[in-house]
Amino acid sequence: MRTSIITDEERNKAFESLRKPEVIEKQKLNVRYHIEDFDVNDRTRRFLEAFAAILKHSNYKMALDHFIRMSAKCSRCAATCQVYQATGDVKDIPCYRSELLLSVYRRHFTMGGLLKGRLLGSGYLTDEKLREMAESFWNCTACRRCVLECPSGIDHGLITHLGRYILSEIGISPRALVVSTREQLEGATKNTSAIPVPALMDTLGFLEEEMLEEKSVNIKFPIDVEGAEYVFFPAVSDFIMEAETLMGIAAVFTATGDSWTTGTGYFDGINYGLFYSDRILERVVKKVDEETRRLNGKNILIGECGHASRSAKYFVPAYCNGEKAPPVINIMEYTYKVWKEGKLKLNPDIVKEKVAYHDPCNVARQRWIINQPREILKSFCMNYVEMSPNGENNICCGGGGGTVSIDEIRPYRTTIGGKLKADQIRKSGCEILIAPCANCKKQLKELVEDQGIECEVMGLHDLIYKAIVFDDSLIVQKENESETLKEKE
């Protein structure tokens, strides 16, 4: 893969402030932000203490012991990292980033490192190094493409994940993620978008009316149903921003007749703990499990969201009793299953545009969901094109790892992080891009806007909603139509 480095103009645009100084001045109110006290003293000591505490109570130590001996420094990872490919800055090479943390581990937590450090009087952790780590770990989108290319099998994504975890323990984390999580775990509304339950009910009621109007079918969002087969947890931002996706999901369930529900006790699949702290990851996952048990649901159903799916699928069993935990299913798996069984009918004459599919990293990298949505799309989209590379080797949207939630770095995300993806989309010439992940959708919408690409980004179920064909028994006669029929008789 050739490196296509960004121009100086693009670099300046990426790093300049989003808003003009006059605008910022006007927005300054008497009390705008509550500035929290944060401790900058003794950061290096606190970092090492946090590192030691985490190593003691986790499984990272054996992985780090393995990684410190392995690296061949071959830089194969550099060729697949879309951040390095865009900036050409050697400090963006995944192996270099991992070495920042591994060198600290080697020096302070291995016998050889300790002896060597004492002998040579070297390798002490400094504030500059901490700053470099903080900058570097959050430049990474945690897409883990580099992991597939490392011949030594070093998981750079895991090291970035651990680095961010340790930094969060000493108070260095992106504000956007922490504020949302605070609302989710300790706030009144208990979700990252601060949607109160009455607003949720209003939204769902409105969507039900819309769907009756558009499809002449009574499509409902069941609420707090006990013993449902599936308890639904979308990315809660979908309730505000991605109504068509939710309507598509509700339409599929109406077509199949399976029981599902949303719980008013907790309805947010988003889990920012996956991005910045394992302790938060655990606490949020437990809330999902708790709500499912409250409703006696059989399965946890995650909506179209990559990181929410991954946090639930791999960490519900980890934190909620292993084999006894409720099974976790992504909505695309469910839709694929019912489509294969013939319970879902899709009209092949509706979608005429060129459609391409973007694999969200969190569901594709471990070969979990790759072919299922493609098979569905190919069955009713006559002009389906495949982008390449795809599947397990897909290119990250550029907003992964929580970076999409940080609005301040939008120029960075759309000119650097997402550059390779933008080139790929442009090359495919697609008019509709299916991105079944809430974060990818936001990032890709911003990407196509900033990069000037004519392409509509939507979820899989948005398109399914357009093409779904209901059984005649479900169609509701509208009042006007029945009156007209009566008159005719």
């Binding site: 893969m1 109570h57 393995h66 071959c74 070495e99 070093i154 895991l158 960490f315 084999e323």
Partner: protein
């Protein structure tokens, strides 16, 4: 010179070989033990063995992974490894030495194969070193040992080739043979303590990474207690 040679081929060789074997065994078993302990602590006990096995095989025989990422360097590296592993183990002269010392022998390489494999290993080794020097990202990442290792690994090949195929005076022969054995001894000692340990650790990488992502449950409270953060807000 002769006593040096006797020493290098005898007690020193035995010591270095033992250090290599014991060192590699130590890190191999520690790795597996660490993985096992982590598995015991993990909350999620499911292991995708099929994926782990297929990915491990993909890397031990890396034919699929070569084409789209630094293909020339990757192919050279694979061919280099082939010669590097086959020649020392299956060379007739080496097998004869093992037979006289421990009484066990195994199949040996035909003369021509050994000849050409040795030359190709030397050529590929030099090519890899040049590749590492000239590539911007590789040379930035590489530590001193990454540049020194290809040179060190080639010394036994070059000296061995000279001893086997060149007509030299007995003193020169003994000198090259001494370099051959000493360089091999140094390599053996360094193997368990440097990145060459990947020879035993690489097959375990996929298992280690899979288990590393299986976090143990209920660590929130423990970490808060250790760091004195009980009851702190998010």
């Amino acid at each position: 010179m002769e006593t040096w040679l006797e020493f290098a081929r005898g007690p020193l060789f035995r010591l270095c070989f033992a250090i290599m074997l014991l060192g590699l065994a130590r890190i191999f078993f520690l790795d597996i033990l660490g993985a096992y302990k982590a598995y015991r602590k993990a909350g999620d006990k499911t292991m995708p063995w099929k994926l782990i096995f297929s990915r491990s095989m993909e890397w031990i025989f890396p034919v699929k992974r070569v084409a789209h990422n630094r293909p020339v360097y990757s192919i050279l590296s694979i061919l280099f490894h082939v010669g590097l592993l086959i020649v020392p183990i299956f060379l007739y002269a080496h097998v004869k030495l093992w037979e006289t010392s421990i009484g066990i022998s195994w199949i040996t390489l035909p003369y021509d194969w050994a000849y050409w494999l040795t030359i190709s290993t030397i050529v590929f080794g030099i090519a890899l070193l040049i590749g590492r020097l000239l590539n911007k990202s590789s040379s930035f990442l590489s530590r001193k040992q990454d540049f020194l290792w290809p040179i060190l690994l080639l010394i036994p090949f070059v000296t061995g080739f000279l001893c086997a195929h060149l007509n030299v005076t007995p003193n020169s022969y003994r000198f090259f043979m001494l370099m051959h054995v000493l360089s091999a001894d140094i390599i053996f000692i360094l193997i368990p303590f440097t990145k060459i340990a990947h020879c035993v650790l690489m097959p375990l990488s996929q298992v280690v990474c899979t288990i590393a992502w299986k976090f143990p449950p209920n660590t929130d409270e423990d970490i808060c207690k250790t760091l004195n953060k009980k009851g702190a807000p998010v």
